[in-house]
């Protein structure tokens, strides 16, 4: 199928973009990498009157490391996250997760901002944001604001972003960035995750003082698993197995054609175990083989 008719706008500056979006907001969508929007247009699941292309707006695709965090522009592609040196050095979890998004051709065009705005509950970026205590930067003609990842994802394809706001950037904290793990089950390479787990820990004096465990594919939005996190802090010798058990016990997954609830519960166990083991061996193997 082909996209329905729409008016196309390609603003050249951020103010122009926000103005255009404000004027057309009820009937407009913004186009980033198009890797979710174009299928929706082709299948006529979306029929906007206006499409506003972010692709010609400068300043939305930088990656900058600041004190304690990495700021990633909304238009940074999945592939750039996979290959960028700052990302590899500061938030290697993000680099690992990027490689799980679709296929190379999808990663070449799809963007991190598009992924979090789209908010597919099986997507990788939302759990990376949760694990790295991330924030989503938003802009509209009314001004700027940022929302903690935990408050951003509300439900399937639904976020706290207001209709006239665009995502401008993601901020990832490096506090928990250097002990990390990421593991995912997908039916075929490149498919959305059936279940994916991201683990990030902060270490002080050789002890885990903060742990964050985020899971995709078990609910209508990405979830943090506080039960597993509690097990990991100050972790015992059996922490990995205990955390996997706690994670699996804590979820009440959805059933759909990609997997039954019971199957997903087993997957949460397996993927949490893998991700935590990576985190425990990170800095040596985990961080480097990224």
């Amino acid at each position: 199928m082909k996209p329905p008719r729409f008016a196309y706008h390609a603003p050249r500056t951020l103010p122009e973009l926000l103005e255009t979006f404000n004027e057309t907001a009820d009937e407009a969508v913004v186009l980033a990498g198009g890797q979710s929007l174009l299928p929706m247009l082709n299948l006529r699941l979306a029929a906007p009157s206006h499409v506003i292309d972010l692709g010609r707006v400068p300043g939305l695709d930088s990656i900058a490391s600041t004190n304690g965090s990495v700021e990633v522009g909304a238009m940074v592609t999945h592939y750039r996250m996979e290959t960028d040196a700052v990302v590899a050095a500061s938030v290697p979890l993000a680099r690992r997760a990027a490689g799980y998004v679709g296929y190379r051709a999808i990663r070449n065009r799809g963007t991190v901002g598009g992924s979090v705005a789209h908010a597919d509950p099986a997507a990788e970026w939302p759990i990376v944001l949760l694990a790295l205590d991330g924030e989503v930067g938003l802009a509209s003609v009314r001004g700027w604001r940022s929302i903690a990842a935990e408050d951003f994802f509300e439900s399937v394809y639904t976020t706290a972003k207001r209709p006239d706001e665009i995502v401008t950037s993601l901020r990832l904290s490096t506090r928990c960035a250097h002990r990390w793990g990421f593991s995912e089950f997908q039916r075929r390479t490149g498919d959305f995750a059936t279940v994916a787990v991201a683990v990030a820990c902060a270490v002080e004096a050789g002890e885990i003082c903060e742990a964050r465990v985020a899971i995709a594919g078990v609910a209508d939005r990405p979830m943090r698993c506080r039960e597993a996190e509690a097990v990991l802090v100050g972790g015992s010798a059996t922490a990995a197995a205990d955390a996997a058990e706690a994670a699996s016990d804590s979820v009440d997954p959805i059933s759909d054609i990609h997997g039954s609830s019971a199957f997903r519960k087993r997957l949460v166990h397996a993927e949490t175990l893998r991700a935590v083991r990576q985190a425990f061996s990170a800095n040596e193997a985990g961080a480097r083989d990224g």
Partner: protein, 161 residues
């Protein structure tokens, strides 16, 4: 309608397009470059894969208007005016890397990208790189054989595109 101006297979091209025209349809219907195949139109099969500024892209998931001022390469760029097969095409032929050929243009363009960005890769990386190109005929073994041979024998790499 909107005016776009882009480079396709090394040639400057200007055209009027409806904003909703997909790049795949623009190439096939507008420029008569029917080597780019269209299978699913939602990003899964990879038959429509072309290079945009050197990077693989689904031409069914791009509007032609997004390609304004960009450089696009299609499978037709590999063998200009019947000047013999490109080494990657030759390897596909030699190794029986195709049967019906529907998937082949997309696969070839993905391999051009692989040769340019990671030419020293092994079979696992080849499979991973081509995971977004579905082939209903070959069972993939011969395709991986062909790519292995092509990468070993492709001298020009990026220039080969």
């Amino acid at each position: 309608m909107a005016e776009i101006s882009l480079t396709v297979n090394g040639e400057r091209t200007a055209a009027q397009v409806d904003p909703r025209t997909l790049l795949s349809d623009f190439l096939r219907d507008g420029l008569n470059l029917t080597g780019t195949h269209v299978g699913c139109e939602h990003g899964y099969c990879g038959a429509c894969t072309v290079l945009v500024d050197g990077a693989s892209a689904r031409s069914c998931l791009m509007l032609a208007i997004q390609a304004d001022a960009r450089s696009v390469e299609t499978v037709e760029s590999l063998s200009v005016n019947g000047a013999g097969l490109h080494p990657i095409q030759q390897a596909f032929k030699d190794c029986h890397g195709l049967q019906c050929g529907f998937c082949t243009p997309g696969l070839l363009m993905s391999v051009v990208e692989l040769a340019a960005t990671n030419p020293d890769c092994g079979r696992d990386e080849i499979r991973e790189h081509l995971s977004g190109n579905v082939c209903r005929c070959t069972g993939y073994h011969h395709i991986v054989d062909a790519v292995e041979r092509a990468l070993n024998g492709v001298p020009g790499r990026a220039d080969d595109s």
